[in-house]
Symmetry: D2
Subunit: 134 residues, 4 copies
Amino acid sequence: MKESQPAAPHETTIRVRYDETDPMGFLHHSKYYTYFEIARTEMLRDSGGNYRHMEESGLFAVVVKAECKYHKPARYDDVVKILTTLRAISAAKIEHEYVVMRGPDRLATAHITLALVDRAGQIQKVPDWLRALK
Amino acid sequence: MKESQPAAPHETTIRVRYDETDPMGFLHHSKYYTYFEIARTEMLRDSGGNYRHMEESGLFAVVVKAECKYHKPARYDDVVKILTTLRAISAAKIEHEYVVMRGPDRLATAHITLALVDRAGQIQKVPDWLRALK
Amino acid sequence: MKESQPAAPHETTIRVRYDETDPMGFLHHSKYYTYFEIARTEMLRDSGGNYRHMEESGLFAVVVKAECKYHKPARYDDVVKILTTLRAISAAKIEHEYVVMRGPDRLATAHITLALVDRAGQIQKVPDWLRALK
Amino acid sequence: MKESQPAAPHETTIRVRYDETDPMGFLHHSKYYTYFEIARTEMLRDSGGNYRHMEESGLFAVVVKAECKYHKPARYDDVVKILTTLRAISAAKIEHEYVVMRGPDRLATAHITLALVDRAGQIQKVPDWLRALK
């Protein structure tokens, strides 16, 4: 397993939608995972990859493990920034770290591990081109 | 086009989930369409059909037209009843009416028209077995 | 009721998210309502209003009627444009038309009518400043 | 912190909805958190509590930490069982374990830690009545 080099994290900006917030007025905790998915998709796009094309070619990323710490709530209409860092990539797994910021405030920190499967759900090797993109 | 006979509407009961409600504490207006989808799926199941099997056999229902009037809001943890009535079925389209009730209160009334497509998105005839189920 | 003047529709661009698409690979029909909500919120913002501030001041927009025709499906990762036009505004109601485009293709057309309520759900007059923004 | 006694886990049954599944046909990984929320709400209800009443009295549960391992995918229309166990409860925090089963197959295992806050977001002590319910 190759550890990723220290590099500036990738940044994705998202505005919190009305229907993503709950009766407390907070972004529902489950929606952070949607934001993380968008963040890693945009990171891949900015590296020259394309997740839609990956799926069309029969390679699907599945989440095998996720954990998130929620420090402060995000609210409706807030603009948050997702800082995404590739933490590790091997033939078997891809792990990213995600930090959600609103201005100077850190709202959440997460780690998510992906594996790749084919259309039948069988585990696939992480291809070299993907490992090279990083 | 055969008009459906007057018959008791099909009933589906759903409890409003926390993440379906918005900062007003109301069930978000978009979620009613999820409830209607569940209602027609359960109506099909109770008639001896199965939507998952339909999809596995390559026949997909797509919404071509939807309209909904919202009379009163549903709130978190409310138990609502969806009353579903088949309004019309032809070789080309299926139309249901949906009424959302909370106890004696009518919360919403909707009409949704479905068409059937194959995996490639081509319009398909509504099969006789489906027209017979009704 | 004052009819709105012919004016260029407001444009909002949205990329279809993975978790908004269904097993057919299509944007779920219920999610269009989320897109329309974003579109009218951004239209208000671009006119100098702010829906979050409206809510903080105790004025909430509720959907009282919605209808949508779905012409062609949107797919994961598509970039769609929502063209929003104010169709009518009175002391009681606000009606917009929404057209969803993907490149030259019209994917959906909708009309949604809003009313304003206070925190207790009582109908409020559409304020003059909002009618002036249009 | 009082460790919970070994007791049979609480069971909640949920049918996977169409709009919760993604283009792979799998229940989206973010939706498991919605299922866990339903499971702990029903567990509270079956113990004589009521989360809606808690919120109406000004006490809100917020997720401060969540982690989930995904073993096998759930699919559209699957009926899954959520087995919920209270793992620890103190004046400051509540931790549950959740296991998602489909028949004999374990699909996911999660741990979620809650804290209680008031309407202003200030941390509150877990009340004795809640600690007694367990």
